[in-house]
Symmetry: C2
Subunit: 308 residues, 2 copies
């Protein structure tokens, strides 16, 4: 088993969907990544920052999942990062209603001593300089560095983003962002251009249409589970990344063949995440249910064709 | 092996894409379905109508593919159905520039005597009354009746459409059309509603995002092959339907398990269709290339996960 270090936001979210709305609830990229990766009982640590307003019970929740929270700095007189958004009827697009950086504005990530030699580093969506700083702190080159990012950084910190992209093995990015980053409409061509930027593996997330994993000239396609209803997509991409990273940490095998399984695990866990608001579904997700759903993914895609 | 009867347009198309434009070339739903199904060397017949302006060489092309063309009526003093369209840059949407029904306006389909007992009936996109008329002419109930349709008939002949939907076993329809037909955004819910309209099997085509096959509570997902470039999407849906119907006719097995393979074959053949204008790629498609691409589909989707 490999150690997994996760950097990203630990935050408050307030969410509106056609099905209802929430007050401030637990959110943040590192939260979703950590909860998802915890399915694999790996040794993981979150590197983040919160304010004095952040409830102890949320921290306890993470600790109970075997997540080392010593790297979550608490700024007593600061306020926790807050994001609020409203999803449109199709659940594929959303408006951001509020973004309050608060303690995140001056975040200096500190990787706990025990995790400076972690084999797997999962850089959740954050300023690319913060992401780079985590890589700088590693005492040996990780077996696998995975980067998640967003169009926001392409608009506001493109050079810094390119600098961190250069240093990672895997990038996870959604389809529109892959197009923006490369200026290419075809995802096949976009993936090739991103390869040339550094990452040997490119994961393009297509939401309800699944995810593509590219490696050189090879490609693997994980569908999304067709769902009756997407209740709240918040955190689905991070949950995907957490499942991906967690499975690779658990198995210690970072080959392309095993990454296919990691993508399937990521998709499987993300399919749970969207069933309830925020982290609600992921907080207590029995392994048995995960295994049942993995079987559904198999049934969904496996065929045994006879060449005629 | 089962006999396959195909009804649909045999037509002229004129196409504009970002890559170029064509004069009037061979097109039509039945043409694409027939060429695609001919990959399986099944006994098939096309039921359609053309005008005196339709070149003999196009008819010869179909004959050479072992397609019985005795059911293609030639109206000497009439003109062949003509469609012209222009694709937008994303290739996912298009404007219709011209639709000249011509001989199609008074089309009375006549199923050749030898095909009135065909086991598989593929009703390509046409007025639902014409589709129903073909079913009326069958002397025994086909093992499988497959219907393809379009939003056009939902807008202009909804009651007739419902009457033919009731009578078929399989419907192939694209995602937006499934939503329009049912008023449901979720494709899972839409498929269930379409089941209730009659068809035991519902295939929802999602273009570059693949296709879903629904049967009761089971679902199968065939991805589209990620392509560098879609040159011309015209006929891709019909080519999919032709591969689906042709494979089922060849194998004679209309179980859900075998339909999964049929969906994969349909997706595989459609991935060739879009590589060149119109029927160009499908006219001479070596079986060896098809088998190589089927292997790509396997590599694209097959995984061997270990439950941890």
């Amino acid at each position: 088993m490999s150690k997994l270090v996760i950097v990203g936001t630990v935050a408050f979210d307030a969410i509106e969907t056609p099905f209802g709305k929430t007050d401030k609830i637990l959110g943040g990229a590192a939260t979703f990544i950590g909860l998802s990766a915890s399915q694999f009982n790996v040794d993981s640590a979150i590197v983040s920052v919160v304010g004095g307003d952040f409830p102890q019970e949320y921290l306890d929740l993470l600790s109970e999942k075997n997540i080392d929270i010593s790297g979550i700095e608490i700024i007593k007189d600061g306020k926790t990062f807050f994001w609020s958004g409203r999803y449109h009827n199709d659940m594929n697009s959303r408006d951001t209603l509020a973004t309050e950086l608060n303690v995140l504005a001056d975040f200096n990530p500190v990787v706990p001593q025990d995790y400076k030699d972690a084999e797997i580093v999962m850089l959740g969506n954050l300023h690319p300089i913060v992401q780079s700083s985590v890589l700088d702190q590693m005492t040996k080159k990780p077996k696998l560095a995975i980067l998640d990012t967003m169009n926001f950084w392409m608009d506001s910190a493109l050079e810094d983003l390119h600098n961190v992209i250069k240093r990672v093995d895997v990038i996870t990015i959604n389809d529109e962002e892959a197009r923006q980053l490369t200026g290419e409409y075809s995802l096949v061509v976009a993936a090739r251009k991103i390869h040339e930027m550094g990452p040997k593996y490119v994961v393009i997330k297509k939401g309800e249409h699944g995810a593509l994993l590219f490696h050189n000239d090879s490609v693997f396609y994980a569908p999304a589970l067709p769902l009756e209803e997407v209740f709240d997509p918040t955190g689905a991409g991070d949950t995907f990344a957490g499942g991906f990273a967690g499975y690779l940490a658990k198995t210690g095998d970072v080959s392309f063949e095993n990454m296919k399984n990691a993508v399937i695990y990521g998709s499987t866990l993300a399919s749970f995440c969207v069933e309830k608001f925020g982290t609600e579904r992921m907080k207590n997700l029995p392994k048995k249910e995960v295994h049942q759903r993995l079987q559904q993914f198999k049934d969904l895609t496996q065929f045994d064709i006879e060449l005629t």
